[in-house]
């Protein structure tokens, strides 16, 4: 009897700890979001979206940084996504089950978790050193390198969801493999692939470390891909660590913007993915 009570007590204590842990975890994360919203909204005005990053001590906005972030994320995705989708197609279609695809899958998973600052160093050595200066191109390349493993992984997972029967039906009509992939598999997996792309955008748009020594930063408006370009993460980094109140306010606003954008992207991606799964049941 006594033993049973000890067991029950242990159980309640352990489960109580689990509840408390969840509460602590959620509280910490809630605190972060709350601070972010409170400090971020205070600094947001029309000027945030229409003016350039200011010199210390004067008012300004984040227009050039927003533009740079959008542009480099766009180019990064435009380079990374096709490579990722093709490689994912190889893993799910052509190389299914062979040794090469097992190795590629493993290497891809390692790249997926590799520290992003390493990617920054890689692109620095590869492009910045050769070109002799920092540039938006190098920044976009670094983001592309990070986007590739994300896209490979999601594409493969999504293509694997396509029923074999659909592909067999297409093959039975005498259709070539490539036509089956382009005409049957991709359309059937379209929303899944879009989810993957959205997740890739969410992943690269908040990356700071790989941009620090590739795109660097630029206080002025620049559309030159061959020159350093402002971008939200690096501006947040520099402004937050500065002693100027104006700059710190802008850093918070930029941080809020990025977080909101990423949360929206992830929620949209998630609901598309849920709809895909629901439709397959």
């Amino acid at each position: 009897m006594n033993r049973l009570r000890v067991r029950k007590l242990t159980s309640s204590l352990a489960l109580g700890f689990a509840g408390v842990a969840t509460l602590i975890g959620l509280l910490c994360l809630g605190a972060i979001l709350w601070t972010l919203i409170k400090n971020g909204i205070a600094g947001i005005s029309i000027a945030t979206f229409t003016e350039m990053t200011p010199p210390p001590g004067s008012a300004g906005g984040l227009l050039n940084a927003i533009y740079g972030s959008l542009l480099m994320t766009g180019i990064g995705l435009a380079i990374g996504a096709p490579v990722g989708i093709l490689a994912g197609t190889y893993l799910a279609e052509y190389g299914r089950g062979n040794t090469l695809s097992t190795i590629v899958r493993f290497v891809n998973d390692v790249l997926l978790s590799a520290p992003s600052i390493i990617v920054g160093l890689f692109v620095y050595e590869l492009l910045v050193v050769r070109m002799g200066h920092f540039s938006a191109t190098a920044g976009a390349m670094a983001l592309a390198v990070i986007a590739i493993p994300v896209t490979v992984r999601t594409t493969e997972d999504m293509l694997n969801l396509i029923p074999q029967g659909m592909k067999d039906a297409s093959t039975a009509l005498g259709v070539n493999h490539w036509r089956t992939v382009l005409g049957v598999v991709y359309p059937a997996a379209r929303s899944g692939i879009i989810t993957g792309l959205l997740l890739a955008i969410a992943r690269i748009s908040g990356e700071t470390a790989p941009l620090l020594f590739t795109a660097l930063n630029n206080q002025f408006w620049s559309t030159n891909l061959d020159a350093p370009m402002a971008n939200l993460p690096v501006v947040i980094f520099q402004f937050a660590l500065s002693p100027y109140a104006d700059w710190q306010r802008l850093a918070w606003s930029g941080a809020l913007m990025i977080t909101v954008a990423i949360l929206i992207l992830s929620i949209v991606a998630r609901s598309i993915a849920a709809a895909v799964k629901g439709g397959r049941k």
């Binding site: 700890f17 893993l91 790249l111 978790s113 590869l126 470390a209």
Partner: protein, 325 residues
């Protein structure tokens, strides 16, 4: 009069074209897959080549000395290595038990209506960029620690034997301990959602059998769920460790960037990634730059081993069960 069925004629040339497109498409996917391998190879070769001058110049002293002096061009990586390891250990010591609690809560304890919203919230937070955690650590957590927590630690633990030296010195707010805490909060949602995915792979039959034998809830978790998912759980923890070791932005804000190995956890320090982030663009001279790249080589080596082990352990699981990694 019967109409004859239209005769479908596929010309030889059309078939030949289809076949060549097939070859091209197949080759394109193959090249893309090889590119993934080349990426890893390229990163390794490029970093080693960039860091080689420093590694060849300092040899073993690079990882065994603490001096980091750009003026005399003496570089030793002991302080960043130490900082990387210690902050990660602090982070995992806090994040693993809490994540375990969260995963248990989500899979075994929470009512059905609560599971989805809390689970989704945790997953979304795992996607928040690390710079957000860094800026919060600097402006919110560090002042709180400096004013309230660290003075208490110094007063109450600073004098105790053995562990006392960990809690001595002035309360800076920023430092190794703060960085470890920020890292813990950052990896928490990540590790928790992997663990949750892993716990959900346990077949209900196993758990129900244990309940049928009269086991308490905790006994079911500790003696059925945990042993059944051991490989996956360790894999998830290792992935979290890989993140903590390589994390840059969350740490750079709060570590203090001091190339020192201090006994005290309250002292400022540095990590490999923080040193690179702070100094790389300002590094003058080839040896300085090369030393920073060599730091990158060390980081890549450490994280590669950790991540590879994690992935090998997670490979045994059904990939589809792991939605969040």
């Amino acid at each position: 009069m019967l109409e004859t069925a239209p005769k479908v004629v596929v010309s030889e040339s059309r078939l030949a074209r289809e076949r060549s497109i097939e070859k091209v498409f197949r080759a394109a996917t193959f090249v893309a897959a090889i590119l993934v391998l080349l990426l890893l190879g390229g990163v390794t070769v490029t970093l080693v080549r960039g860091g080689w001058p420093a590694l060849a110049h300092f040899k073993f002293a690079f990882i065994s000395t603490e001096i980091w002096n750009p003026v005399t061009e003496k570089f030793g990586a002991l302080a960043p290595i130490y900082g990387t390891l210690v902050t990660s250990v602090i982070a995992m010591a806090i994040a693993v038990p809490v994540s375990f609690g969260v995963a248990v809560f989500l899979t075994e304890l929470a009512p059905k209506w609560l599971r989805r919203p809390v689970g989704v919230a945790i997953e979304l937070l795992a996607g928040v960029p690390s710079i957000i955690y860094g800026i919060w650590g600097l402006f919110v957590l560090a002042p709180i620690l400096q004013r309230h927590v660290q003075p208490w630690l110094i007063d109450h633990l600073g004098g105790t034997p053995v562990i006392g030296s960990l809690f001595q010195g002035p309360p800076f707010g920023i430092g190794i301990l703060t960085a470890g805490l920020v890292l813990a909060i950052m990896v928490l949602p990540f590790v928790a959602s992997v663990m949750r995915d892993v716990f959900e792979t346990v077949p209900d039959v196993l758990k129900e059998s244990a309940y049928g034998l009269g086991a308490t809830r905790w006994e079911v978790i500790w003696k059925v769920v945990v042993p059944y998912t051991r490989a996956g759980t360790i894999g998830g923890i290792m992935l979290g460790l890989g993140r903590a070791l390589g994390e840059t932005m969350a740490v750079t804000f709060v570590i203090g960037n001091a190339h020192r190995v201090s006994a005290s956890l309250l002292a400022p320090g540095t990590t490999i990634s923080a040193s690179i982030a702070n100094e790389f663009t300002e590094a003058v001279g080839d040896l300085y730059t090369s030393s920073l790249v060599a730091l990158g080589v060390l980081l890549f080596l450490i994280t590669f081993v950790v991540i590879a082990i994690a992935r090998l352990m997670l490979m045994r699981l059904n990939r589809k069960a792991l939605s969040s990694v």
